[in-house]
């Protein structure tokens, strides 16, 4: 919120650093208000989930004395069938769901970048074999694979995030590969090579900075999918196991049975999940429009209002 403060009265500053920053901020926000505000909402959700619970009087798994109480001042989102505070559980559930989403996105983007660099540079038959592996990975329906692997390795936050991330890393090499291949033919790469730069130096100093934007954008756009996947697993009873709160688990195991008479048990986690997925997608679209050099010109030509 402090970020938006200088923009309220930009004309007070006339010169100097502060003025320049303020003008830049105003222009930045005006360019895509929806994208910026979804980013702000996303940050608020993350803070609420990771810092928020410290200020709450309840423990997520503590049994209370009033079961299934309607929302009130002492229980903002009511209590569930064991008397646990739904608001507290929703925030703690955010920790689980967001951790799965972000860890998977990180493993996926870092893995995709690393693998794509290695295999495009190795080239030849290695590149061919790797691409067939990518084909197989893409042919296997995601939920089937996830269900099987979670059954084998056990349903914990860590395994679910890593399974989602590894799969995303393999799938993501396809995109990264095409970006790296088109970057490799640029003149500045040829220049660096002819100046005697080693392959590692070319990769780290010249290719990675140019493809990292694409990597960040794709992983942001994928976060929503990972969170939904974890929720689907919880619904099928194979997600992070109760009593650990997750948004998916609260909506499927606890909430569904009570949806008609006690809808608050479902409303809080469902709102948070939907809001997170939507804002993550919109923020990803915004990042794509601003960061991806290939789309920067295109979005300008189309009037810049995004093309999701």
């Amino acid at each position: 919120m402090a970020v938006t403060a200088p923009s309220a009265q930009p004309r007070v500053f006339t010169s100097g650093r502060a003025a320049r920053t303020a003008r830049w901020l105003v222009r930045f926000i005006q360019r895509d208000p929806v994208g910026i505000s979804s980013g702000v909402v996303l940050v608020v959700i993350v803070l609420a989930s990771f810092v928020g619970p410290m200020f709450l009087p309840y423990q997520p798994n503590a049994l209370g004395d009033t079961n299934i109480a309607a929302p009130s001042l002492s229980h903002l989102a009511g209590t569930d069938q064991y008397g646990r505070d739904v608001f507290t559980r929703t925030l703690y559930g955010g920790r689980t769901s967001l951790t799965v989403g972000f860890v998977a996105a990180f493993v996926g983007s870092a893995g995709a970048l690393g693998l794509a660099l290695v295999f495009t540079y190795a080239g030849g038959k290695w590149d061919y074999v790797w691409n067939r592996i990518v084909d197989v990975n893409m042919a296997l329906p995601g939920l089937v694979l996830l269900l099987v692997l979670v059954t084998i390795f056990g349903p914990s936050v860590f395994t679910i995030a890593v399974i989602l991330g590894v799969r995303a890393a393999i799938t993501g090499t396809r995109v990264m590969r095409s970006v790296i291949l088109s970057t490799k033919t640029e003149d500045y790469i040829l220049g660096a090579v002819s100046l005697g730069a080693s392959p590692v130096r070319v990769m780290v100093r010249h290719i990675v900075p140019n493809v990292i934007a694409v990597s960040i954008v794709t992983s942001t756009l994928a976060v929503g999918g990972y969170i939904t996947a974890e929720a689907s697993l919880s619904f099928l009873g194979l997600g992070v196991q109760p009593p650990t709160p997750t948004w998916g688990g609260m909506m499927s195991i606890d909430g569904r049975a009570y949806i008609l008479r006690q809808p608050w048990m479902l409303i809080a986690p469902a709102t948070m999940l939907t809001l997170t997925v939507i804002t993550a997608n919109m923020f990803g679209d915004f990042l794509r429009d601003t960061m991806d050099p290939r789309l920067r010109g295109a979005s300008g030509r189309r009037g810049g209002a995004g093309s999701s």
């Binding site: 042919a139 296997l140 089937v144 194979l238 008609l260 093309s307 999701s308």
Partner: protein
Amino acid sequence: MLQYTLRRVAGSIPTILLLIFAVSVFTRLIPGTAVDAMLVDSSTSLQNVEEIEERLGMNRSIPEAYFDYLLSIADGSLGTSLYADQDVWPIIRGRALPTIQLAVMAMLISGVLGVAVGVLSAVKRNSIWDYMARLMVNTSLGVPNFVVATVVVILPAYFWRWTPPLRYTSMFDDPVAGFFFFLAPVLTLATALSAAIARLTRTATLEVMNEDYVRTARSKGLPEGTVIYRHVLRNSLMPVVTLLGVQIAFLLNGSIITEQVFSIPGVGTLLIQKIAERDWPVVQGLTLVGGTIVALANLGVDILYGYINPRIRLS
């Protein structure tokens, strides 16, 4: 064109062989403790660890197990279930019909709905319709399938005191009862799918609307309707039609959840049940069938795309 088709078909053979390999070796990931757990489970007729490992091909070398699995595909059995002493393929085939009905109906509805919303959204760009459509699309993509299903069942009950019938009836046995049964699950599955299609259609249509030939058509004074219909849609919808094939993996994922919610005795519920029972040969078979369907759909899309877009053929 024939050459292109043959090249594509040949290109997909290594992928399918690798897929079979991946499915045949995946039982090796199962840790020993899981095998022990299967013995404790009383519903199995299996006597000891060796027998389970034998049945799962875990005591053979990887090439041997792969070859055995290829043989079981060749004789059409896909292996034997650990529990019922039944071949895997007949089990899967017996559960296919409900899933096919669900998938085909959802595909048809979301194809029509998604394309209509996407085109409207692109043509009336930045209008109130566009914003509403995009909001709906983003929301449908954000809400998980099982929540949509719950709402689809609950809302009619709440407002009109009418609950959709929840007992599976095949469309082929009783078309009327089947229609009413499939209404809710098909809507559930079609929500996310049509949102995804609408998104694709909007992008594709917007791209075409920026082409020079569209500006030419407008500047020579053609009415807007003709421009959209003759010049924009004909070009933008072709890639969309082929992209429908890619959505098949999406559809398979969605139908697992949807079948589970509405207790449809299809392939998705079979998968969940067999995973719970640790009946790995059936799970292997299901994974292989699902993977092959997606791989073949992608192949079909590639070939179709080559027919539609001559520029692709040469690359």
